[in-house]
Amino acid sequence: MRAVLVMCGYSWIPDVWHFRRLILEALDGDLHDELGFTENIAKSNSKNYQIWHHRRWVAVKLGTDATSKELEFTKKILTLDAKNYHAWSHRQWVVQALGGWDDELHYCWQLLEEDIFNNSAWNQRYFVMTTSPPAGRPGRYERVLSAKNNSIFALSTILDLLCHGLQPSQELRDVVDALKASGQNDQPDPDLAKTVCCILEGVDPMRANYWKWRKSKLMS
């Protein structure tokens, strides 16, 4: 089949991809191989609509077998172009349709550390906060907070979630309380968001005024 479909030189032509899908279905082609095939073409044609659509078609057929491959693939493309719209669009589809949310916020943060102005990464962060299954969200932050690196980012994300209506688990409360600086009020504040703001004032002193303002908004 590969000998018949020598189409690398014609990847911009939609009809070629249509034809390829028809053949794959008729001959029950190996779809894992197909992912590898499209990856090679996509690397030099990462803004080609046809390739991304074809990739999604293959991933739909493979289902959750394709999840980690798709996330890895989009990461590779984003390494070459961190704002590639197709890659981000595909990644959003993958996590919604196939799962794999766990690492997403951490990945966004890595990209923001490389380029704080990466608007796509900021958009993805908001997308995860508002679209990922609610049950899974706090667990991710507890892990990041416990690791004590990137705690500013994790705390600010938890603050946003609390403002969005997240009901914190006891586990999350305990992890946040453990981050309070010594000297801070040892009585747990029923309003976890206020506690988070106080902690942030301490660990992110550059933006102390901003965290004070956030705290004042909580009380209004």
């Binding site: 911009w12 939609p14 249509h18 704002k83 719209y85 959003q92 608007n119 796509s120 679209t131």
Partner: protein, 313 residues
């Protein structure tokens, strides 16, 4: 300030239309219908559409129609909503919409609407707000909006609205000027602009203007002449175009011209193409550059053509 090399651009477009065998034409063969729309509309804006053989163009367009009612990018190519709109727009330019079997075309488009109100591009099911705009624009031109569920189409577009006031390709997708044009255009065509936060979106859009005067499509990206259309038409539709510096944008577009051979490129000193030539001239028309016919920001057709569709000759 530089000048618009109108005659050079006319010659450039006519030369592209004649070329079929060189490398660029072969690579672009599958989207010739889009290219024809870009070239012909530019000629019309420059007042030079009569340089073209109407009958030849119309009969080529109709040869691209598939039995499903949709149009392909060229003869023998599979149908897609992208080329269907361009085909209808080309026929509108020449006042030849009467050659169409309207039911056939509109049924093809209506068949692409999904349960959630979104539209697919073709039988393979890709969904994107581009296709929502295309469907609504096409059906509006053919006076057949009643064939689809407009309310659901609008609510799908609204579901693609982001916190920054912009719109993406699907719900959750990053705001992008091209997608914003499609969503704002679709809302304008269906009388639904009240869903747009005009101040918020107006700010996002005018923030696209960079130091050189050009416009980019997303924060921290390079300017590109095509955004002179996507951003500008959006600003006009929401009545906030006075928030950008028009003179600087005009200068940026003029700087993207090839003054010797004609044509306009994405940014100064790059290679020209028909796509950027159209968007540069269309952008200048929106900026009321002298000597150009007016263009409608929602239909992306000359105002005279739109008036003829809705109000007769």
């Amino acid at each position: 300030m530089g000048e618009l090399a109108a005659e050079k651009h006319v010659q450039y477009i006519l030369s592209v239309e004649k070329r079929k065998d060189d490398l660029v034409s072969v690579v672009m063969e599958h989207l010739r219908m889009n290219g024809a729309y870009w070239g012909l509309t530019t000629l019309d804006l420059l007042g030079k559409l009569d340089n073209v053989d109407v009958d030849k163009v119309v009969s080529w367009v109709m040869e691209c129609q598939h039995e499903s009612g949709g149009f392909g990018g060229n003869i023998g190519h599979d149908p897609h909503i992208l080329y269907t709109l361009s085909a209808v727009q080309i026929l509108a330019l020449f006042d030849k919409l009467n050659v169409l079997d309207v039911d056939k075309v509109t049924n093809y488009i209506a068949g692409l609407q999904n349960e959630d109100g979104s539209f697919s591009g073709d039988m393979w099911g890709e969904v994107d707000t581009r296709f929502s705009y295309i469907s609504l624009c096409c059906l509006s031109i053919l006076r057949c909006l009643n064939k689809i569920n407009v309310e659901k189409a609008v609510s799908y577009i609204v579901s693609c609205k982001n916190l920054d006031g912009g719109f993406g390709s699907t719900p959750g997708g990053e705001s992008h000027a091209g997608q914003i044009f499609c969503c704002v255009g679709a809302l304008a065509l269906t009388g639904s602009l009240h869903h747009v936060d005009k101040d918020l979106l107006g700010w996002w859009l005018c923030e696209r203007q960079v130091k050189s005067g050009g416009l980019n499509g997303r924060p921290e990206k390079l300017p590109d002449v095509c955004y002179s259309w996507w951003v500008l038409s959006s600003l006009i539709m929401i009545d906030r175009v006075h928030w950008i510096n028009k003179e600087k944008l005009v200068q940026f577009i003029l700087d993207c011209q090839d003054m010797e051979n004609g044509g306009i490129s994405d940014r100064p000193d790059d290679a020209v193409d028909v796509y950027h030539t159209y968007f540069g001239v269309a952008g200048l028309s929106l900026l009321e550059y002298p000597g150009l016919r007016a263009i409608d920001p929602a239909y992306a057709l000359p105002v005279d053509v739109v008036n003829r569709i809705f109000f007769g000759k």
